[in-house]
């Protein structure tokens, strides 16, 4: 599946919460081929910021030819992207990477912070019993979008909404059981999920993140440690952008 790189029209770009933005792009070429868990690279206009910003696909509508990207302002580049308005154009390349494999009868979807967005399209496309755990530091976002697709559980570090603590605390508090776990979030959360899945004997798919340059598997900037010698690299490294970002938990060392 060939990624497309061109300028796409912004349909809408709005703030969801402090520093969290939601952008819809008119990107039929990306939407028609994309699967949940894949990402797109967004390029800044400023020549001082050369490298693409990898952003996970939050939602896609193949009929309307649009995709949704929910992202956090982490620096000048995403700040610049947050200023885009409807009818502006932004350069993007996608879809990139490999998405989630849809499997299982009883799924646990776990998103932490800015790892929550890709779980939404996954929740829409997974056709099975779904329990969705969303972890936040304090303010929630995007949670209302999940309610049509499964039972939603929330954890906040400050305890302002749902279970006080992290996503694992919420999973334990609600005694959530599953035959497959899908997770995306910060590395400490993924470590926790990996350990939990191993202990409970549940298969898990983890979506990883790393600083990227090319986004297409050439520069070897965004590798992760693997538990076996990888057939491409011939060392224990896989490329998150090309071989991932989704991996089975047993494949990777976090």
């Amino acid at each position: 599946m060939q990624a497309i790189k061109k300028e796409f029209k912004v349909v809408k770009n709005t703030m969801l919460a402090a520093d969290i933005y939601s952008m819809w792009l008119e990107a039929g070429e990306i939407a028609k081929n994309a699967v949940p868990g894949q990402f797109v690279s967004l390029y800044c206009k400023s020549g001082s910021r050369l490298l693409p910003r990898p952003i996970s696909i939050c939602e896609l509508d193949k009929d309307k030819g649009i995709i949704r990207l929910v992202y956090r302002i982490a620096g000048g580049g995403t700040q610049e992207l947050s200023q885009l308005k409807a009818a502006d154009y932004v350069e993007a390349m996608g879809p990139l990477g490999n998405g989630f494999t849809l499997e299982g009868k009883k799924a646990l979807l776990v998103g932490g912070g800015i790892g929550i967005p890709p779980m939404l399209e996954l929740a829409k496309q997974l056709d099975c019993e779904k329990h969705i755990v969303l972890g936040y530091r304090d303010t929630t976002f995007l949670d209302n979008d999940f309610y049509p697709y499964g039972k939603v559980y929330i954890s906040t570090e400050d305890g302002s909404v749902g279970t006080k603590g992290n996503v694992i605390d919420a999973i334990l508090a609600h005694k959530l059981d599953a035959d497959i776990i899908y997770a995306c979030g910060p590395t400490p959360m993924l470590k926790g999920i990996k350990a939990y899945a191993e202990k409970m004997g549940i298969k898990a798919q983890l979506s990883l993140e790393e600083r990227m340059a090319c986004g297409i598997g050439a520069c070897l900037g965004c590798v992760c440690k693997t538990t076996y010698i990888d057939s491409h690299s011939h060392v224990k490294n896989k490329r998150i952008c090309k071989d991932g970002p989704v991996f089975y938990a047993e494949e990777v060392e976090l």
Binding site: L51, M212, I216, A218, C219, C222, V223
Partner: protein, 300 residues
Amino acid sequence: MNTSVTIAGVCFKNPVTTASGTFGSGMEYSNFVDLSQLGAVTTKAVASKPWEGNPTPRIAETYGGMLNAIGLQNPGVDVFIERDLPFLKKYDTKIIVNVVGKTIEDYCEVVERLSDCDVDMLEINISCPNVKEGGIAFGQSALSVENITREIKKRAKQPIIIKLSPNVTDITEMARAAEAAGADALSLINTITGMKIDVKRKTFVLANKTGGLSGPAIKPIAVRMVYQVYNSVKIPIIGMGGIADAMDALEFIMAGASMVAVGTANFYNPYATVMIADGIKEYMINNGVNDIKELIGCVN
């Protein structure tokens, strides 16, 4: 109109190649550009055995550039010969293999393994700033440049290019040392050692602490060094360092480079190489230049 250049008897259809490490062995970029439109593909560094590279983060963006500390991760020369070389042979382009090692013996082993392969030139990487052993360790004194060049030259069947580091007091000294020891050509510049601090977390952005700075931010330094080296040696130069468009490439050529390599630009514009090759042609047409060789070093 003639865009071809000849370096050490190897004829390149145009003066554009790729900067080692930014283009893999071309596989990923073949989805975006026709590799046959390039004068040559210069591969990522190849060692005698697979190398793991550095821990992550390996990448940091900087103003108008980037730092990398990949640490020369590569699958080793055997995989390169079995997998990457047959892939590259499908295209009508020349192949320059970048060679690296931890010891002179390592370099020589790779050079010998490649000696009977259908490879056009070898680029000897004595300038990677991101590994403790090998790489730049051989490129920061004239004596060691001369020594490694001579040892490799004894064994190499293909012409060799010595890739120079800008992280030296006087790059012309290294250039002359390589030439004296029999180098067929020089390529410059490799990345400039840099550092970025994460002020929020009060730590280094890169796991390796330092990385190599590349991209448009370093271009004026690279052009200056090409100019200096052009005036110090007789062997041809492959110029690189922040080339993002045809005008950038022409700066290097006018400063004295016979060929140019496109690096970091590939990361944000996967079409950059062919766009630059086409742009050089366009410049030649618009300016009545019949032969690219008229431009090489023309400002001198």
